[in-house]
Symmetry: C2
Subunit: 318 residues, 2 copies
């Protein structure tokens, strides 16, 4: 089996776009960026056994490899446009490749993302996707814009993915119904693309939560030169998570779990009505705290300090 | 050791560029593409033990991971501008990381390439770089423009890298002086950036030779719907290669060896004087054959058919 055959058979798919003059098939792709826009570029790698389990369905791996990148674009307020896929596989397993491609292209189609190029290599299973998108000149959401008094918000719900992973790894028991929900959130996260684009001009700072709320909020705070207090009891949790909750210690899944792919952002409190309307449209947005002048992150549960020994997930050091 | 520390220590380097509004450190980079230009995008993966030997110097791995991408941009006639680096390493080896970064950034500085983002993961050693560059609207060099009567050219010299690899793998003996030359060409190829940019408006079709002349020329021919005859005795060979040559069979290193990273292009014969001047400036350009209407690639050595059983290197299937 040759590289070329695999590309033709599995990866000549997905949306076409007017801003792609040359796609897959030459030495490089040729894009025609629209005037008045900035190009937003991100890249993310998934390594088998580290970022996904070896027995994860191929479709979920395809989905997640693109979703992680679209989540980064969403956190910048960018409309996704293109992706390059560097796929390293141990060998040409047609069923796995078809599943992977199906998962990848289903998500790509949902967001009109064109696959414009890539690389296929033989080696230990690993996927690097680079995604590109557009935002109007100067409109991209950065991490460093939070100001004292701003409110802190998150989209969707936190902790499901980490709870599901804990169950898969035997660290936690879950009912099969709850496990199914959590595994869905772990393996097929929903990038908050619509919310990210809608937050342009509203959010003062934003990033996506991939390493746990506490660690990612810490990044936003240090980029902004500010501190924050978060009310842990306000963290958005899914009904399934609440049902599985054994006690306040389980807030740690939502604070330091990883793999949430929700947006964390700040905004002036005057924007609350707009944000509430946006939340109704985009799967929920919850206010969880506020930005302060004093540096550092203070976690409170019903007004008392909530201790957190492990600040977040570090894919590299773990 | 955390991902963040490694990035700060080793990868906050290289040229800054005016068209990068936000570089490393946010969810994604923000680029401001110049008006009237197209964006050229390519990606390439190097897997340890497959695309480089496990004991290759770290600096050469850093160099080659960027060089392979710059070679693709050169083949499109693009000026390189940015790179993203997705680096997967078994663990934080400071000496290796410093060597890698030194090799990467030395080449980046030579071509004013800004590292705008990336990913650091733990896993089997592998490097995916995505590079981006610019070409004026409509000026990019594609594979499909060769016309019957066009002449075929290559930059530099062919076969050194494959000959060096054969020696490293014990399939061939070389003097240490010749081996040193060949290993340099294998491990630290020179992307033909200046030649690629200069060929805009001159070449009718172009690509870079990474899988061997015969296979890559085959790609150009099928994209162009044409055939070609190549005079094997005209293939550009280094003095070191000629000295090591045991017989005409060794032309196979230059025809089907891989890892040359030279440019292969076609042009109307009326452009010969310009191309000769360009060759004087850019390390040599050699005319090796011509494009014909009849499909297929015909190899001739001193006018007689030259048989080639193995058409080129396929990193995936080998």
């Amino acid at each position: 089996v040759h590289e070329q055959e695999i590309i033709e058979r599995f990866f000549r798919a997905g949306p076409a776009r007017h801003d792609v003059r040359v796609g897959i098939g030459d030495d490089a792709a040729v894009l025609v960026p629209p005037a008045g826009h900035e190009l937003i570029v991100t890249t993310d790698t998934l390594v088998c056994g580290r970022h996904f389990l070896a027995d994860a369905p191929a479709g979920s791996v395809g989905h997640k490899s693109l979703a992680a990148n679209l989540s980064d674009l969403a956190a910048m307020g960018a409309e996704p446009a293109h992706a390059c896929l560097a796929l390293t596989i141990p060998g040409p397993d047609a069923a796995w490749l078809q599943g992977f491609a199906d998962g990848f292209f289903a998500l790509a189609a949902r967001h009109e993302v064109a696959l414009i190029g890539g690389n296929l290599a033989r080696g230990p299973l690993s996927i690097t996707v680079q995604a590109m998108g557009y935002a109007p000149q100067g409109a991209a959401l950065l991490r460093g814009g939070a100001r004292p008094g701003d409110r802190i918000f998150v989209t969707g719900a936190l902790g499901d993915a980490a709870l599901g992973l804990a169950c898969l790894q035997g660290r936690r028991e879950l009912s099969s119904e709850i496990l199914t929900h959590c595994i869905g959130r772990l393996q097929e996260p929903t990038p908050r693309v619509e919310a990210g684009v809608a937050l342009r001009g509203i959010a003062s700072a934003a990033l996506d939560i991939s390493d746990g709320l506490a660690q990612d909020l810490g990044r936003l705070l240090s980029a902004s030169g500010a501190g924050a207090t978060v009310a842990v009891e306000r963290l958005p949790l899914s009904p399934q998570f609440r049902q599985a909750m054994a006690g306040p210690d389980d807030y740690r899944f939502a604070l330091a779990g990883g793999d949430d792919y929700e947006l964390l952002f700040t905004a002036d409190r005057g924007r609350l009505p707009e944000i509430a309307r946006l939340g109704d449209r985009c799967g929920g947005i919850t206010q969880i705290g506020h930005i302060e002048t004093e540096p550092g992150l203070r976690l409170e549960l019903d007004g008392a300090r909530f201790p957190l020994d492990r600040s977040g997930y570090d894919h590299f050091s773990e």
